[in-house]
């Protein structure tokens, strides 16, 4: 294989190695070496492309990158780090695929190709989780009787999983949410439900749609949509990501709406870059661009509407930004505006608010130790705010922050909610 052709060499040459990105990078902060800095990773990709480094040697430094893309925002030279990372991971994935076929790889394949893209299978998986939670097995696990079944990292996440909605409730969700009074119609929107979001966080999805309706939107749920493909793209499975993107573009072309609204920072970050996937395919690129032009985070839509935020929330609130919302979608002010609109709220920004919490897709599961080190740094800054509620805008961050609260022994005093939940609370939708 001619590596120079496939590794994103030209993009790496754009880096002038000024180091301006170093202070922005969470892994450089916690792992304390160039190897795990943006400048270091870009250089390693370049060295590999020039043949000074093997793909095996490139693997770990790239695996340990969160993909939070804070470095991209900090870079004055406009280096496209996200593209370098994704393309390099693509080359690695292909190389690994050719080389081995371990059981883990088989599971990964199944997850990526079968579970995430299939709402039915995800529903089934969620049913199992529901059964597990509702049947008392979870309680037994927590009492320590079955604890040894799960590995450390899975045990940690299992403990902070929200109570999922019952199968019946999930399946009976309407496909259309209408504004309360017919003549207040603002926009016609389609809701992007996401895969994990719609399974485990179905409640947040439902509240989001109800909020949009309350704000005067007619909200449609398009059945044919599928997973956004972010996890696939970040793992270097660009072909899989393209297939999913095409399915979504086709699905949302079916209905003429003003906006395609999502409520998960990570998914949104993927959706707004659908056009990048097809830069060598003009026809799809065109369609992707139309899709991107309509894509909005829920906070962008709600911020422009009248929301009846009537019930005061008398709490100290801090906001953990989703990296992909901040650095990729560049949605930064709207969530804050909305939080501050709620009566009773005392808002307190944490130090270094843009730093990733270490969730980063499934990074926290795959690289548990490294992720927890990043989370610990984050939690220090959270504690300084003395907040009683942490607001997030992405399912991964939500779980991660819950885990952080638990690790710090703050579960009694601090709760973690999605922005939609907080707004719903004040709008008395709960």
């Amino acid at each position: 294989m001619n590596k120079r052709k496939t590794l994103p060499y030209d993009e790496t040459v754009q880096c002038v190695q000024c180091g301006y990105c170093l202070p922005a990078c969470p892994t450089y902060l916690t792992m304390k070496r160039e190897t795990h800095s943006p400048r270091g990773r870009i250089n390693l990709v370049q060295m590999a492309a020039e043949g000074h480094l093997s793909l095996d040697e490139l693997e770990e430094p790239l695996d340990l990158c969160l993909g939070c893309r804070a470095c991209e925002t900090a870079c004055p030279s406009g280096v496209q780090y996200g593209k370098i990372l994704e393309d390099a991971r693509g080359v690695l994935a292909e190389y690994k695929g050719n080389r081995t076929s371990t059981p883990l790889r088989w599971i990964e394949d199944k997850m990526f190709q079968n579970i995430f893209p299939s709402p039915k299978k995800l529903q089934l998986l969620t049913d199992v989780i529901w059964l597990y939670q509702a049947s008392g097995v979870q309680a037994m696990v927590h009492k320590g009787k079955l604890n040894h079944v799960l590995s450390d990292n899975l045990r940690a996440f299992e403990a902070v999983l929200p109570k999922v909605s019952s199968p019946l409730k999930r399946r009976k969700r309407p496909r259309l949410f209408k504004p309360p009074i017919a003549n207040t119609l603002q926009w016609k929107v389609a809701f992007f439900t996401g895969c994990i979001m719609d399974a485990i966080f179905e409640k947040i999805n439902r509240l989001s749609m109800e909020l949009l309706a309350l704000a005067g939107c007619e909200v449609h749920v398009i059945g044919e949509q599928t997973c956004c493909g972010a996890l696939h793209a970040h793992a270097g499975r660009l072909d899989d990501a393209k297939i999913l993107a095409k399915r979504n573009i086709e699905a949302f072309e079916r209905l003429d709406v003003d906006f395609i609204v999502n409520n998960a920072g990570g998914c949104g970050g993927m959706l707004v870059e659908y056009d990048h996937l097809f830069h060598d395919d003009p026809q799809w690129e065109e369609r992707a661009k139309a899709f991107v032009a309509k894509t909005r985070d829920i906070s962008q839509v709600l911020a422009q509407c009248e929301l009846p935020l009537t019930k005061p929330v008398n709490e100290i609130i801090t906001y953990q930004r989703s990296c992909h919302m901040t650095n990729v979608q560049k949605v930064t002010t709207e969530p804050l505006d909305l939080i501050k609109r709620i009566p009773g709220v005392t808002f307190r920004e944490m130090a270094n608010p843009d730093m990733c919490c270490g969730s980063a897709g499934i990074y926290n599961v795959l690289n548990y130790k490294e992720s927890m080190e990043i989370l610990d740094v984050k939690m220090e800054t959270v504690k300084e705010t003395t907040a009683t509620t942490i607001v997030t805008t992405n399912p991964g961050c939500l779980l991660q922050m819950k885990l952080g609260v638990q690790r710090e022994g703050l579960s009694e005093r601090v709760r973690v909610v999605h922005l939609a939940e907080l707004l719903a609370e004040s709008a008395e939708l709960l």
């Binding site: 002038v16 180091g19 070496r33 190897t35 004055p76």
Partner: protein
């Protein structure tokens, strides 16, 4: 020179010194991470160590001295002259993790800092006490104070407030023999013996490793004001610079951007700059509120009198920030033209700025290179930058020649090779041109008596026999 290689036996000894194995890096990926800086060339170290105390540094250096292994101090590697590059292999000491101490003593107007503290953090801490630490390299949010001290870094505020060396009262230094010494002290006045503090500042890590510094702080100016003056003729802008500087006003900053810069910035992020102008000057004054108001108006008048096309005084804090935004945009804007940036900082006496501009214009044409000029006009510290593509060997050859001629021009006009970025390995070949044979030999003798085995950051400042500027290899 016969240096010993880092082998298993040496590693074993290093493990005895550095308690935590995580701070001893030997993997290839890690070594590559410490093989470059923001200038040119790639040189792999054999070992990277991340010490956290002066004692660890001293013990490692002692070992290196006994075994004759080169040692290279390193901050965050933002050097533009090759300063921290391990050109002879050996050990890189990553000092960026020695960042625990940042103590401001307002009553003494000093700060005591570890070498790995970021310069911007010192700015922030000083400001909390109503003080400032004036040296402000553009890289201050990334670069370490140790790197600043070793390079004697400057910045836009250098015009009024001077450079790093003007704010150092004392140092703790590990000598090439691995001993810990202290120079200077906490007092503003100190004339006891040779001024080793000033000798070490700007020595680019060739005389020892700074493990602590005592810095001088000054009261924060009450007010600031800024203006932008636009010129149709770059020579007129040069006249305006001298006019302002001789009028009794001492600006805090005075920056210039040439037409190529203006155009690059405009095509990168349009902000209404006049693309047909030949130059823009930005002036900032600080001090007492009323004086500031008067001085900025006076400066505006002077620019107009000389022949500025227009002058705009910022009327609010956000307008002021906006004026500086254009200047900040220069670096990123020009790297979008072409990816490889060669930043020079040749400096000339202020009266020679117009002449230097003329020379630079000729060099740009003669070698057909993308040469852009901006920089600290007020102190003659220009930043001629060439943007090229390092993959294009032919272009890089022309760049090499152009860079050499920039240095020649600066020296012919009574200037210097470097105003703030240091010599490193890049400019070493030109040292004799500026200092003369005897001058360079005197410096060399100092180096030899400090470091007879030449283990401390070898390959920097002093050229090897026959060494030439090379941008096409490595």
């Amino acid at each position: 020179m016969a240096y010993r290689k880092v082998d298993e036996e040496i590693l074993q000894q290093v493990r005895g010194i550095i308690s935590d194995d995580k701070r001893i890096l030997t993997e290839k990926q890690d070594l590559i991470g410490y093989s470059y800086d923001a200038s040119f060339g790639v040189f792999l170290p054999e070992l990277v160590i991340q010490p956290t105390t002066a004692q660890e540094v001293a013990a490692v250096v002692k070992l290196a001295y006994e075994e004759t292994i080169p040692v290279y101090p390193r901050g965050q590697s933002t050097s533009l002259s090759g300063g921290p590059l391990p050109v002879e292999g050996g050990i890189v000491l990553d000092l960026s993790h020695m960042n625990k101490k940042l103590e401001v003593v307002p009553d003494d107007l000093i700060a005591i800092v570890s070498p790995g503290v970021l310069t911007a953090d010192i700015h922030a801490a000083a400001e909390q006490a109503g003080l400032i630490y004036p040296p402000d390299p553009s890289s201050s949010h990334v670069s370490t104070i140790g790197g600043n001290l070793a390079e004697n870094s400057g910045g836009p505020r250098g015009l009024k407030y001077g450079v790093t060396k003007d704010y150092v009262l004392g140092l703790e230094v590990v000598t090439p023999q691995g001993e810990i010494i202290r120079t200077g002290g906490r007092t503003v006045k100190n004339v006891t013996g040779y001024d080793l503090t000033k000798l070490i500042v700007g020595s680019e890590g060739t005389l020892g490793i700074i493990t602590e510094a005592i810095l001088r702080l000054i009261p924060k100016p009450q007010a600031t004001a800024a203006l932008m003056a636009i010129f149709d003729d770059i020579v007129t802008s040069g006249e305006a610079i001298s006019k302002v500087l001789t009028s009794g006003i001492l600006p805090a900053k005075m920056e210039i951007m040439d037409q190529t810069c203006i155009r690059a910035v405009e095509s990168y992020q349009p902000s209404g700059l006049p693309v047909d102008a030949e130059a823009i000057i930005l002036i900032e004054v600080d001090g007492h509120a009323r004086a500031v108001e008067e001085e900025i108006r006076e400066a505006a008048k002077l620019c107009e009198a000389v022949g500025a096309r227009s002058v705009k005084i910022a009327t609010s804090e956000s307008e002021r920030a906006n004026l500086w935004k254009a200047r900040k945009m220069v670096s990123p804007a020009i790297t979008r033209v072409k990816p490889t940036k060669i930043s020079e900082d040749a400096t000339v006496p202020r009266s020679q700025i117009p002449a230097m501009f003329a020379r630079l214009k000729k060099i740009r044409e003669k070698y057909n290179v993308n040469l852009v000029v901006f920089g600290h006009a007020g102190d003659g510290n220009l930043h001629p930058n060439i943007v090229a593509d390092k993959r294009d060997k032919d272009e890089m050859k022309r760049v090499e020649q152009a860079v050499a001629e920039i240095f020649e021009a600066a020296i012919e006009l009574g200037g210097t090779l470097s105003g703030e970025h240091g010599i490193g390995n890049m400019k070493a070949p030109f040292m004799e041109m500026e200092l003369g044979k005897a001058g360079l030999e005197m410096m060399q003798r100092i180096k030899e008596s400090w470091d007879p085995k030449n283990i401390m950051n070898p390959g920097k400042i002093f050229p090897k026999p026959g060494q030439r500027l090379n941008l096409t290899e490595g």
